[in-house]
Symmetry: C2
Subunit: 338 residues, 2 copies
Amino acid sequence: MTNFADRLTKRIEECNNPTVMGLDPKLEYLPSDMLNEWLKEAKDHEEKSGQPANMQMATGMAIFDYNRLLIDSVYDIIPAIKPQFAYYEMYGIHGIMALRKTIQYAHDKGMLVIADAKRNDIGTTATAYANAIIGETKIINDTTACMFDCDCITVNGYLGIDGIKPFMDVAKEKGKGLYVLVRTSNPSAGDLQDLKLEDGRQVFEAMAENVEKWGQELIGECGFSSVGAVVGATWPEQAVKARKIMPHALILVPGYGAQGGSGKDAVASFVNGKGGIVNASRSLMCAWKKRADIEPMELTQMHGPSGAPLLGFQRATREEALRMREDLNNAIKASAEA
Amino acid sequence: MTNFADRLTKRIEECNNPTVMGLDPKLEYLPSDMLNEWLKEAKDHEEKSGQPANMQMATGMAIFDYNRLLIDSVYDIIPAIKPQFAYYEMYGIHGIMALRKTIQYAHDKGMLVIADAKRNDIGTTATAYANAIIGETKIINDTTACMFDCDCITVNGYLGIDGIKPFMDVAKEKGKGLYVLVRTSNPSAGDLQDLKLEDGRQVFEAMAENVEKWGQELIGECGFSSVGAVVGATWPEQAVKARKIMPHALILVPGYGAQGGSGKDAVASFVNGKGGIVNASRSLMCAWKKRADIEPMELTQMHGPSGAPLLGFQRATREEALRMREDLNNAIKASAEA
């Protein structure tokens, strides 16, 4: 199956869960015992080797370790991860190495990877971004290499079709996808996106029309296109409008949970329970912080998909993932009955 | 001097040149003899060590080497470089390492560095990007580290002020700057940016008003703000409109040369010869390709700023930089007389 929309739709059905786990790591999300382990490892190495410890490397290794354990706790019930590139770039080269390893690990476990990179540029440069993140690059010995190897990427359409087409070309060739920002989840999203045009449309509606048009040639057997749209859960009214304009777009829905969107809000753009995927980052990554009954780094009685017992923070994430799945499926059911 | 606009204005005066050298490396820009040297080095190492050659590493090293030699040829006559992040991400981890080294090398030679990254996201994530590229990040041992350490970054304002303010906060604290995309240089820039609003403005004019407003508190002694705007040389009419709306914005002008903008077009948004900087990428990086009279890898009679003789490709870049400087200064003079 080479169409991204089909691959994602199938994975969502297998997991019975339209959730994507946002992996936006900050060191303060990690249990302090885990941080201390990696800090101790770096210092031990310094003592043994006589070389100053590479604390940026230790930071990157701690972050990958946390991501890996989160993936281990949910890969059977969550179809995809969405690493937000900013949080890895923030930790420099070693952060970006952690990102690469996280992508590979998620793929090894059968998850899809949506690169939340919001890249945008003009033609030739957009091609470079597309090659970097969802395609491949020719290197010095005339072979090609996949650099980030994600399944899909978020992009910003402010530059028009020149900046989108290169992503579409790579997506088409490689069976990958893209989500164009239409209506974002943040409070000031409307500053530009809600401005009213002289023909009565709002700016985000004009963007939505572009997305529907651009996506025509990448519609899969599932009925949705691999050219999708980002529409925040915090604006259900705009989500309904956007869906009307884009009947074929896969929709990526940020803003559920920590940002205030409810299950009902999050599925406002779904069509017969399909065509969307809802992101949760902090509520999954930091689920253990809300659980006074759990020791984050101690083994629990709950088992993960591999059969191994889960650590406290893994259990908290799995339980939150199960709760969210139920919440979304209930919201889908309620909207079908309404 | 801690205001970016002041630092850039001073550097432009010292070089008598409102040019920024875009460093957007592609392997095919490099002379084949140089590529072959790095390929041979990788293979020799493979033979000696018995380990398979790391061709991605060789690619990154070749790219940094080319950038370094380009910088060596012009650092006294060009005030800043503008690495386009896409071209480094395209070469993976080793590409990004080449980017880091290029930034450090340019700084060592007294050049400013404008990160052409066009980042954009909501609040907390925009903060992560700002920390990554123009700020610093707290790492595992409770110290902080500068990851990319650029002086300025390009950003996309589609998400509104939430997505811009974090960059402004870091810029203010660290004496850094940002350029917001207003009117880009590509053919389809108008798809969204030229749409007419019900109040008669176009979308790019609404964005320009935001930029002028956002920039008020970062105006330097030079009279320009460290919150600047990207306005392409390919649209001089829009550039004049944009400047009227943004009297205080520093303007970054892409689209000169290869994309079709003339010297006159490129300085359309300048005020008394100031307040703008014009980008040239391919025309500087690949100047040697237009010179049948030059052997790119052979030493020439021309000397660079360090006193060392320049290689053919370095000489071609320096001569093109001098030609462009004259072209822009003539255009500034002509517009003053008009």
